[in-house]
Structures are given as C-alpha cells and as structure tokens.
C-alpha cells in the first residue's frame, strides 16, 4: 500500500517537469492584484474584483490572474508585492492609497515588471498610477439628495481626511447645494476604511442628529443598512449598493475598473504600455452613476440627466463660484480648480459641517 502511494507521489512530482513544455508554448501574461479588503465587502474591493473577473473573461487564456485579499497598508504590503514580483508576475495592480510607497520601492527593484498603483501620485518608468473622478458621479447623487432631503440635513460617513475623500465630500455637497442651497452636509470621520461596526455606529449617530439621508465614503454597505432600518434614505458608493440593500439607496457613485483594466492589459500585450497618470471621469466610464431607485421622481431624474450631459460635455464640477466654509469666495465665477489643487484638496466648501481631520 505504502509503495503504491509513494509511486503515485513520485509520478505526481514528474508532472511539473513535463508540463512546462506545453505551457510555455502559450505563456499567458501573469497579472496580480493586491486588495485592501475582502472581495466580499460589496464595496471597494468588490468592484476591483469585478474588474479582475471581467479582465480574465475578456482575455481568456491569454492571461492568468491572481489576487490576495486583506493586505494591510504598510510593511506587509511590500512583502506581498515583492513576493508576486519574485514569482514572475508581469503586471501587478495595487489597489489602495497606502500601497504607494511599498509599490514604488518594489518597482525600483524589478524594472522589467509593470506596476499599476491605484489612487496615488508616485510614478516610475515601470510604475503608473490610475484613479477616477468619482466626485463627478457623487455630484450627480448630490443633486438627488439635495432634492429629496426633508430635514435639509444630510449625513456623510467618511473614512480619512485625505484629498480623495475630501474631494468626494466637496463634489457631493456642490451637487446638493446646486439644487438646494439650504441643505447642509454633516461629516463624521471613522478613521477606518473597513469596519462594519464603526461604519454603522457613525451612521446611527448622524441619523440621531436629525439627518434623513446618509452618504458615505467607506468600504461596506453598513451605513446604508443602518439608514434603511430607521426608514431613512441613503446614497451608495463603490458598488451599486441598491442591489444589496434595496430601493432606499437612491443612487450610487460606482467604480467601473474593468474598462481601464482591459485597456491597460491590451497595451501591455501589444507592447505599447508606457508609464502614465490616468485620472479619468464619467466620460471615460471609469466612474459612473448607478441606475436610480424607483423612489426618485421623474423631474429629479431629468435634472440629474441634464447635469450628467453637462459633465460629459467637458464641464468641471469644480467650476466657480466656489465658497469655503466661512462663506468666502475662493474660486471666482467661471474659474476651475486646477487638477493639482484638486489632488491636494484639504478644505471643505460651503455647506459642509465638520472639519478635515
């Protein structure tokens, strides 16, 4: 019995020696993804995972994709990115802001491997960045929230006071105030991307403070669920949260990574990949507005559609006049906040209640 078993093991060990001969003929492009949360968060990581699956499906056996989930930002990330590099992956996508320095460090060590970092600003000849102007979609959801709030108090559960989040809050608030100048957006910071319990507690605190619509910049659907349980409305983010929570989610600002992932890998396969800083918006279809809930009245739908067309036509949501929280005009009528100022945004527009922490 034991001899048969050993024989089997020996034969199994032979397989890898024979296989490469056939496998090398095709040699698929190896693509790796590093995720901050679990793909089951129904939010941020879920959308990247959807992008990865679409990518795999699009290219079939021309590529081979792998991912690792729940990678904390910090030294652990560098270890995992380096491991992928050593294993001979050709393209590595790192999908959280905090992976920027680890990715940069590994990119310098492996000049032949292509690194793509999401939401950061450091690049190298073999390291590009990509991100989207999700605030354009948020602006549209802001119009809906501004029209549908009754208490004129909208709650916003936010993760960290970094420009990415601040831009989202400002874009959303500008949308709200474009139709309802009396409404205020109340911000509560959780200091975490992913913590279902904290995200819910923050939303409940906002609801108790009189907010009747909850928007968020977090990675799970907990704030949406908390609002629904109180019979209140919400605005989703990351994924089409209405699908998971119900029609109390009026609309969601949704990421659409697949278009970017497919285009990038196509470039790599064609040998035309060059380092870049991609920052697309609604018109590039990297960020989009979800289907609207049936609770949104037709006239509001039309208003949203008009604004969408305006943005697609090249209008920036950060076009003046824009006032800061003290009511002072910081950008005059017709003036657009330049990209570098947007990328470093650390102040709130008029109508936001709270401080950048």
């Amino acid at each position: 019995m034991r001899k048969i078993f050993l024989g089997l093991v020996a034969m199994l060990m032979l397989i890898p020696l024979v296989l490469p001969a056939t496998a090398q003929a095709k040699k698929p492009l190896k693509v790796a993804f590093v995720y901050i949360g679990p793909p089951g968060d129904l939010g941020w990581t879920y959308e990247h995972e959807r992008g990865r699956l679409a990518l795999q499906q699009y290219f079939g056996d021309k590529i081979e994709t792998k991912y690792v989930e729940n990678v904390p930002e910090g030294p652990d990330a560098e270890r995992i990115i380096r491991q992928y590099a050593i294993q001979g992956f050709d393209v590595i996508f790192t999908t959280s802001f905090g992976y920027m320095d680890p990715t940069y460090a590994v990119a310098k060590e492996f000049p032949k491997i292509i690194f793509e970092h999401c939401s950061g600003y450091k690049t190298a000849p073999n390291m590009a960045t990509y991100f989207g102007r999700i605030e354009e979609a948020r602006y549209l959801t802001g119009i809906i929230a501004g029209r549908m709030t009754k208490s004129n108090k909208i709650g916003y559960v936010a993760a960290f006071g970094i420009p990415e989040v601040v831009r989202g809050i400002n874009g959303f608030t500008l949308g709200v105030r474009s139709v309802n100048p009396n409404a205020k957006v109340q911000v509560v910071w959780t200091n975490t991307w992913y913590d279902p319990v904290k995200e819910r507690e923050a939303a409940v605190a906002l609801l108790d403070a009189g907010c009747d619509i909850i928007a968020q910049h977090q990675d799970t659907t907990e704030p949406q669920k908390a609002a629904q349980e109180r019979g209140k409305l919400s605005i989703g983010y990351d994924s089409d949260m209405g699908k998971f929570v119900g029609d109390t989610v009026l609309a969601s600002a949704v990421w659409n990574w697949e278009t970017y992932y497919i285009a990038t890998i196509q470039n790599v396969l064609n040998g035309t990949w060059k380092t870049h800083q991609f920052w697309g918006g609604l018109k590039d279809n990297i960020a989009r507005l979800s289907e609207l809930s049936s609770r949104v009245p037709a006239n509001v739908k039309k208003e949203v559609e008009d604004a969408r067309k305006k943005i697609l036509g090249g209008w920036s949501i950060f076009t003046g006049p824009i006032k800061d929280q003290t009511g002072k005009i910081v950008y005059k009528a017709g003036e657009v906040i330049p990209d570098d100022k947007q990328l470093a945004m650390d102040w709130f527009v008029e109508g936001v209640v709270g401080k950048v922490q």
Binding site: G37, P38, G40, D41, L42, N70, G155, Q186, V187, V188, W189, T190, N191, T192, Y194, D195, P196, V197, K198, R200, E201, A202, V204, A205, L206, D208, A209, C211, T220, T221, E222, K225, F244, V353, G354, K355, Q357
Partner: protein, 316 residues
C-alpha cells in the same frame, strides 16, 4: 437629558457583546487558562450564528449553535493547554488565526447559490431591541430597559458571575485552581476538570458575544465583523482586574467611547476622535502600572497567580 439617555442607550448596546465575552474570559483566566483565542472564537460565533439563523430562521438555534461552536473551540484549547500542556499563548493565538481565516472562508462558501455562495450582504431574522415609546418617557432608566434580550441576560449574568466567584464554594474552588493548583489539588479539587469546565464555559460566552454582533448589533455577516473587539476583551479582563463586577465599567467605557465620539462629532463638538479612542487603552495601562507599583493591591486584585501555566501533579 434626552441626549444623555440616547448616549447611554447606545453605550449599553455597544458594550453588551464586550461584557459577555469579558465575563467568559474572566472565568477562563480565573481557572489559570489564558485563552488568547477570543477574537477567533467571537468571529466563529458570529458566523455560525448568522448562517444558522439564515437557514433555520430560528434565533434560538442560532445562539445555541454559536455557543456550541465556541465551546468546541475552547475545548480544543483546554485539551492542548491542560492535557497536552502546550503553551497557552501559542495555542490561543493559533485559535484566533484559525477562527479569523476559517470564518472568512466559510463566509464565502456557506451562502446560497443566488448570492454566489457568499453570506455577505444577506438578511436574516435579527434580535430586535425593545423600543417602547412608553418606556422612553422615563429619562435615563429607559436606556437600560430599551435593550435586547442578550443585554437583559447580561444584567443577570453580571451579578450571578460575581456572586458565584466570590460567595460560593465552587467559585472558591475555581479561584483556588487559578491561584495555586497544587494546593487546590491537595484540597481534593480536580484541577483538570475545573480547567476544562471553565475554559469551555468561557468559550461559550465569548462566542455568544460574537453572535450578538451578527444577530443584533450589526445584523448580518461581514468578514472580520469583530474588528479587533476580541483583543479589546483581553485588555478589558486586565482593566477589570479579573472581577466581573468591574468588567461592566470597562466594557461600557470601551464600547461606549466609539458610539459617543461619533455623536460628539455629529453634534459639532470638536474633541479629536483619536484622543477619545485612546482613553480606554490608557486606562488599561494605568491599571497595569498601578498593579506593579502597589503590591498590596496586586495581591488583592491581581492576575490569578497560576495564569498561563499548565499543571501536572508530579511537577514541583
């Protein structure tokens, strides 16, 4: 007053799972077993409770399954540390690592096909806290009454576990085993039996704390739903100096601070959230420092002397 009542309500609600798990860990540590598997057991409790309720639609069954799973994991820990005399820290940590990973794994496999076999994002029956308008009219007291059934059991469990530990003979035996197993053995107490018994009971309570999260507090399953609350429980045991009566203050402090700081933010007060979040840990460190400095206090309320050591009769 209304603001205070609402803060107190949410504080008690947030502290419930912490209190249950802390009492469980206190009973465990009082027997001399150090169980660092709290985080893993809580996660397995939360997952198994939610999955059971989702399929059986019975909350009672959900809690029972969670308690059973918690008991089993703790039994494994008791077997490794008491019978096999393994290192308590290593065994406990491996249970946490196992529970964290395995609960995520099951969370992606146990769901229905319609949801891609995931449990995330699903709804099931939940424990609804009492929310009576009539009770709400009583200020402050209503914060204690408008709660769910698990919180009510905590009201019972707290005095009972304190009475048991300090006023009954089996409680004395338990403390004796944790302080000096040799003496306890000489007294005729079965050290192995006691350690098994209270480690398992402790594990059951810890899992119940986890189940409270997924069935009541944050209804539904999400990966890592505990978010490190298991480690807070371990800090809380030290904070409460191994006394269930004091555990409640710690749990309210730890559980409440989060809820309170969000409310303060929402009401426009500008105390930095990070400062508030730090307070409970400062408290824990203060207790540790106090116990080291003040020997008399440490003798009276300190850690069980035999905590984390395995006992064998033939050993000296």
């Amino acid at each position: 007053m209304e603001f205070l009542t609402s803060i107190l309500t949410i504080t008690i609600r947030a502290g419930t799972s912490l209190t249950v798990a802390t009492i469980g860990e206190i009973l465990t540590e009082r027997s001399g077993t150090l169980n660092l598997g709290v985080e893993g057991i809580m996660l397995m409790g939360a997952l198994s409770a939610f999955a059971t309720v989702f399929y059986s639609h019975s909350l009672v069954l959900g809690f029972l399954v969670a308690i059973g799973i918690g008991g089993l994991l703790a039994l494994l820990h008791a077997f490794l540390t008491t019978t096999m005399r393994a290192n308590h820290v290593v065994s406990g940590l491996s249970i946490t690592l196992f529970g964290t990973g395995f609960s995520s794994f099951l969370g992606q496999r146990l769901g229905p096909a319609t949801n891609n076999f995931r449990l995330v994002g699903l709804r099931a029956e939940r424990v609804v806290p009492l929310d009576s308008a009539w009770i709400k009219q009583i200020p402050l007291l209503s914060a204690f009454l408008n709660q769910d059934i698990i919180t009510y059991s905590v009201y019972l469990l707290l005095p009972l576990s304190w009475f048991f530990l300090y006023k009954t003979r089996p409680g004395l035996w338990l403390r004796a085993v944790g302080e000096h197993p040799q003496t306890a053995d000489a007294m005729g107490i079965d050290v192995t039996k006691i350690r098994y018994l209270y480690t398992v009971i402790g594990g059951m309570l810890i899992a119940l704390g986890g189940a409270h999260l997924s069935l009541s507090y944050t209804p539904g399953w999400s990966e890592n739903i505990t978010g490190g609350r298991g480690w807070i429980v371990i800090a809380l045991v030290i904070f409460s100096m191994w006394n269930p009566a004091r555990a409640v203050w710690g749990a309210l402090l730890f559980g409440g601070i989060n809820a309170v700081q969000f409310r303060l933010q929402a009401s426009g007060t500008s105390i930095p959230a990070n400062f508030l979040n730090m307070l409970p840990y400062v408290g824990t460190i203060a207790v540790l420092v106090l116990m080291t400095w003040w020997e008399a206090l440490s003798k009276k309320v300190g850690a069980p002397a035999a905590l984390g050591t395995s006992y064998m009769r033939e050993d000296k």
